[in-house]
Symmetry: C2
Subunit: 349 residues, 2 copies
DNA sequence: CTGAAAGCGCTTACAG
DNA sequence: CTGAAAGCGCTTACAG
């Protein structure tokens, strides 16, 4: 039979109310009874019944999520919401609700005002995509001073005590991309690395992917393949085409690695120019990318599983706030390899 | 504010007890009040508070799991238990406990006696790996006559109303294996398909993988690659070696596809005989397989995610018994592609 | 600093 | 066939 507060109370010769005060460190208990109750709690390994607890509370818990607003077209930032909704549905019985705060990822001010708004609403915990490193750190410090736990996802910032991270190992994903793009590649030639982030906002992420990608060629002595990084950040459509035209006319391009989700733009280029037999690999299951994957233009996509990141993010806050269980400092998301043959089984449920 | 039984009772001018009787079809209610209460329940879209409900019940729910005992060495059948335990931990607050019944997968009698034992314990729901198709069907029928919901996992049996399935699309996984083994394969040659199931018990599964694998070569007109199926079911170590020796001396073997988790045996053979540059692909993240994957002897492993199957299995029973929500007839597990570059992120958590 | 009592929303005997 | 009361384990005013 499970140990109840009532049992502890009887053994400690106090009332249930007092036991409750001890359990939750509410004070107003003499040191002597406190230690006595504490001892018995430990001896019997008392575990609270969180169903009864949440039922009695009848308070509702607010989790706040702060991340970029999903831009038109590239709706990568819409995906986490699917996972968040799933988690909320599962946990709705515990009186959990979620409030989202969406900032413009190219506008630091909008991030800061989101942060302020969020703190005004006094959430019980925060899940955040820390796109602006410095501002994120100072925001986290503010949260911590208000005793609000924080979990970050998608991109990392420097280690901070008490902050949990959920996301992918970017460098390893680049290394995996290199394995896939070179696997069984017979002849020598050139491989392009295309960086075309919307802007520099998340550079660390992207750089790590490229670093991982390049390291594979060094480790495996693939010197017959030449790597060329092309920076297309903020490139116009015209500049984009010009760069690729130049590369394809001067080099024997065997493969193209796009370091983010814009790989569909290269897919378009391939189709327009009739490029064939050039391997193409990039990130994220955007609808445009999936289309090219199914057509056979894109060979592999690496998924960051943004939905799962959102899901695990909320579960992480739940564990911290309600269950009071330990949460791992870092939860690394698997690096899923998606092809036209298995894509159908990766729709988020 | 959430609608409570009390609210319904007041509106229907009856007592909470009567509302409860209507909600759970307990009978002992006059048709006239029943329909009145029913109407109001629907109008207000009453949703029970399952926390309060389980707290008041104070009964415990028993889920039974029936699957093969994990054989020595090949512990594929140990993996589902990890997921099951994870689910039970998450749901422990709802008073759920799990009892496992393990049969010898080569012994039909042991399966049948497991079934009988299980039913004696009168579980609230059953999760089962239906290795013996006919006996499984008759067992399911017995469960259904006792109003015990059933979810099956890993392998399918013919469609049965009310039975939910969780598992992988075997044919598609074979097709994926073909894509990976041929991707960028330059020259012509031979490809071996090795069937070495312990016995014929799960033949359908295996056959579908082979069928999917072969279909890829037809669809993509890969006629320069010749496929050879080698049956090694129940082969001794000696026969195994003899078959492979023969194949490797007569054919220009470019790749080997093992249709189940025994791919590590081929890995051993490769190491012993110094076989190099032959692609090797198989199933499941057994420790022996992972070792060869990390060494670069096995190129790809396809994971059936047995842990996730177990996890989803229990969640499926939970949804049916406690939440009373709809559960999809078929839940297809993603077909994960595992390489030495991403294996580290696929340990089950 | 401590205890008795009422309540969270649902369920379960029991009485009529 | 129906209702009033007690209880699940925990929390929260309130009284002392």
């Amino acid at each position: 039979m499970r140990v109840r507060i009532k049992d502890i109370a009887r053994l400690a010769e106090v009332s249930p109310g007092t036991v409750d005060r001890v359990i939750h460190n509410r004070g107003e208990v003499s040191e002597i009874t406190r230690s006595k109750v504490k001892r018995i709690l430990q001896e019997l390994d008392y575990q609270p019944d969180i169903l009864a607890s949440t039922l009695a509370h009848k308070r509702s818990i607010l989790f706040s999520v702060i991340m970029p607003v999903s831009a038109n077209g590239s709706d990568f930032w819409q995906a986490p919401n699917l996972g968040i909704e799933k988690a909320v549905k599962e946990l709705a019985h515990f009186g959990i609700s979620v409030q989202g705060y969406y900032f413009d990822m190219f506008n630091k001010e909008s991030f800061i005002s989101c942060c302020n708004e969020l703190l005004n609403d006094k959430p019980d915990a925060v899940l955040m995509a820390p796109l602006f490193p410095e501002e994120s750190v100072s925001f986290i410090l503010r949260c911590q001073s208000m005793n609000i736990p924080v979990t970050i996802f998608n991109s990392r910032i420097d280690e901070m005590a008490g902050v949990n991270f959920i996301g992918q190992d970017s460098q390893q994903s680049g290394l995996l991309a290199a394995k896939l793009i070179t696997w069984g590649m017979a002849s020598s030639g050139d491989i392009l690395i295309l960086n075309m982030a919307g802007r520099n906002y998340n550079h660390k992420h992207i750089l790590e992917r490229e670093r991982g990608f390049r390291s594979y060629f060094v480790t495996n002595s693939l010197s017959s393949l030449n790597l060329h990084t092309i920076e297309l950040t903020q490139a116009t459509e015209e500049a984009f085409k010009k760069h690729l035209d130049k590369a394809f006319s001067h080099l024997r391009v065997k493969g193209v690695f796009v370091t983010n989700s814009r790989v569909h733009r290269v897919g378009c280029y391939f189709n327009e120019m009739g490029v064939r037999n050039v391997r193409l690999i990039g990130y994220d299951l955007l609808p445009e990318n999936i289309r090219f994957l199914k057509e056979g233009v894109i060979d592999f996509l690496i998924s960051q599983k943004p939905e799962e990141q959102g899901y695990l993010g909320i579960r992480s806050l739940f564990a911290k706030c309600i269950l009071k269980t330990d949460v791992p400092d870092n939860q690394f998301i698997p690096i899923d390899i998606i092809t036209r043959e298995n894509i159908d089984f990766y729709e988020y449920r």
